[in-house]
Assembly symmetry: C2
Homo-oligomer: 456 residues x 2
Amino acid sequence: MASKPSIPKGTRDFSPAEVAKRHYIIATIKSNFEKFGFQPIETPSFENSETLMGKYGEEGDRLIFKILNSGDYLAKADAALLQNKESNKLTSSISEKALRYDLTVPFARYVVQHQSEIEFPFKRYQIQPVWRADRPQKGRFREFFQCDADVVGSKSLWQEVELVQLYDSVFTQLGLEGVTIKINNRKILAGIAEVIGAQDKLIDFTVALDKLDKIGEDGVKKEMIEKGIEESAIEKVQPLFHFSGSILEKMDQLSTLLAESQEGMKGVAELQFICDNVTNLGLNKAILDLDVTLARGLNYYTGAIFEVAAPKTVAMGSIGGGGRYDDLTGIFGLKDMSGVGISFGLDRIYLVLDELNLFPETVTSTSKALFINYGEKEAFYSMQAIIKLRSYGIKVELYPDKAKVGKQFQHADKRGISYAVIVGESEMNEGKFALKNLNSGEQVLVNFEELKAALE
Amino acid sequence: MASKPSIPKGTRDFSPAEVAKRHYIIATIKSNFEKFGFQPIETPSFENSETLMGKYGEEGDRLIFKILNSGDYLAKADAALLQNKESNKLTSSISEKALRYDLTVPFARYVVQHQSEIEFPFKRYQIQPVWRADRPQKGRFREFFQCDADVVGSKSLWQEVELVQLYDSVFTQLGLEGVTIKINNRKILAGIAEVIGAQDKLIDFTVALDKLDKIGEDGVKKEMIEKGIEESAIEKVQPLFHFSGSILEKMDQLSTLLAESQEGMKGVAELQFICDNVTNLGLNKAILDLDVTLARGLNYYTGAIFEVAAPKTVAMGSIGGGGRYDDLTGIFGLKDMSGVGISFGLDRIYLVLDELNLFPETVTSTSKALFINYGEKEAFYSMQAIIKLRSYGIKVELYPDKAKVGKQFQHADKRGISYAVIVGESEMNEGKFALKNLNSGEQVLVNFEELKAALE
């Protein structure tokens, strides 16, 4: 291979500095998941194709990475399909496995497969990579991590309350101010559809309404009419064009608006429980807001819908989302298993923290000190101290070669290591160490206990 | 899908208890890697096929999982290959990517690709899954984690010394006694081949010698002769049949034996440096031993060869291995980049710790207490305490539904949760909590501070 090697488009190498920052976010999410009683599971990177195919719509099927069967994979393939190059029809006969596309379907598969071992309600979290053959673009990758927490086996709305608190807890711990947790409810959307008398126009309606800030009331109404929504219908939901105030005030307006829709009022009641309790129990840094245009995964969610917006100072969009789905495991034959869950967008959270300079300086895997190597005897003396320091959990290392001292200092500098420890003849004779602060240039002669104290 | 779903053979689901134990091992390895100055990188799960193919021999190529190209993958495929169903020849035209087979080749690719950003010597660690289309069997999976630490860019033997210490440090921290770190050197093997005058018979020789314990000296010699090794040659290495004593004594015997082989003596000198320094600096629980039959990855390693044997009380074989390879990155066009590294076998270490009951009881992600749900008011009162407890990092949860109390206690029991917190009318009135130890059955009435202290 003559040319410089590369990696497939849409994938990434992560450098030590990047891994350290990513792990900081993951560790924060993980510790909060566990604080809230969620337990980790892990599922295989690839599933049987039949587990995944048909679960994400036609577009999803196309974006699933398929794994070629091992061995003589063409042996049993249909000769006519091969001859006519019918890629689509051939796939299932030459590929039995596929990389997971998300963590939700594998989770549903896990619950059904292990139902006899699982104690319900089952609160699980899962932090693993997923793969999508999407066209790569800024912030969209072909391999990325999902961080999901879901509960299955209970319809209690306390779980929605706790999931809002969980978002708040994670983002508070990450030092991220101004995060908005937007909430809506599938039943409220159904109620709106009922009021406007157009179930099939619901998406057009919410998409248009979502543009209120940008194109104004007249613009939105114009778009709605263009999409075929009756003017009289728009009139009925007029309050949504001036929907404002606190979340509890908004709830009041919705109650009036949806009074005639039974399902809509059920959504209002659910939302009321969640908002009341979240408000009364209090949040730290996040803000809960009602957003009736929120319709993500409409065909999927049956109750609460969540989406988390990054602080307004950062142009990033959603950094998390989730909701309730009343029939998570039905696709695998296990009925009546309600689930509710949320997800954290690791890559976007990373970009937000990076832009706002919110990664703590301590987030690094770099050694605390580099011992300068002056030769075999000095290195042995250094190694004795290094072993002891490491036994106290202090990250230190020896420059492996007896190189020029300047080169060794430069190495420490480039690695972002703050201290150099210098051991020469005189230090060895005295049983001491010269400790040099590479930022200030200050150098002191210390014994082992002092060295340990300085590096701890 | 009517039948119960399943996962591809050779892959595994991990339950919460299993994930907690696996993460305990990974966290221990990771913290030691960092204490020793190694820094994490992560590479994509799939690489361009040309990066992987041809790097692991013919057998390896066969075991690499290939990913089918997206879209109309047959469009450009050769019609004749399709018609003749030539699976092997077709692969490269319908599959451009493949799942990584190990972490070493991706690391070499990373080093070459990012050479201008890397500060050498580069100490990296990497803990990620790899995939092999191997026939699954006990302890062998198609998806498994590798935990590798390597240094590239320095030939210093201090690194071999430190890698032995790193093994010792990890296994000591895991509480595993009786681990043997076996060491050999490629140059010693070359020396032996020189002395027996049969370079091409070296593997036959070491394989036979390795059976000394099982089939005795006569059996081994018989096998060697059958393999075509001259009797006179076997005579020359007679001391290897009574090779015993301390590692330093063994070194002496080797010096005599290999006195006439220049390369052999170079190997002896290298080994001497490593053994002397390891011995003088001391190990905790692991034992370093010289094993001249150790020949793993013979075509790959150029200096030290390591293999870690599980304690003799467990029938497990190797739980780690590694060595020095003088031309890691040559395959990608970057010459003269010596590397040395070791690997930990996560799955086997797991089995060993499990068999010896060495997982600490604290290794669990389970909540400390379950708050019993008596209804909305009680749940709200409980949630107030739960939020505060979580803010102190204590894992607690509310049973989400107002179910029968017996069912809730049973839930705590099945989940392995040690405490239940009971809040009824009287507790609310008094601002207290009934804390029940589910192991002893003891129940006490406590205020919040006492509750926190008990659960901390």
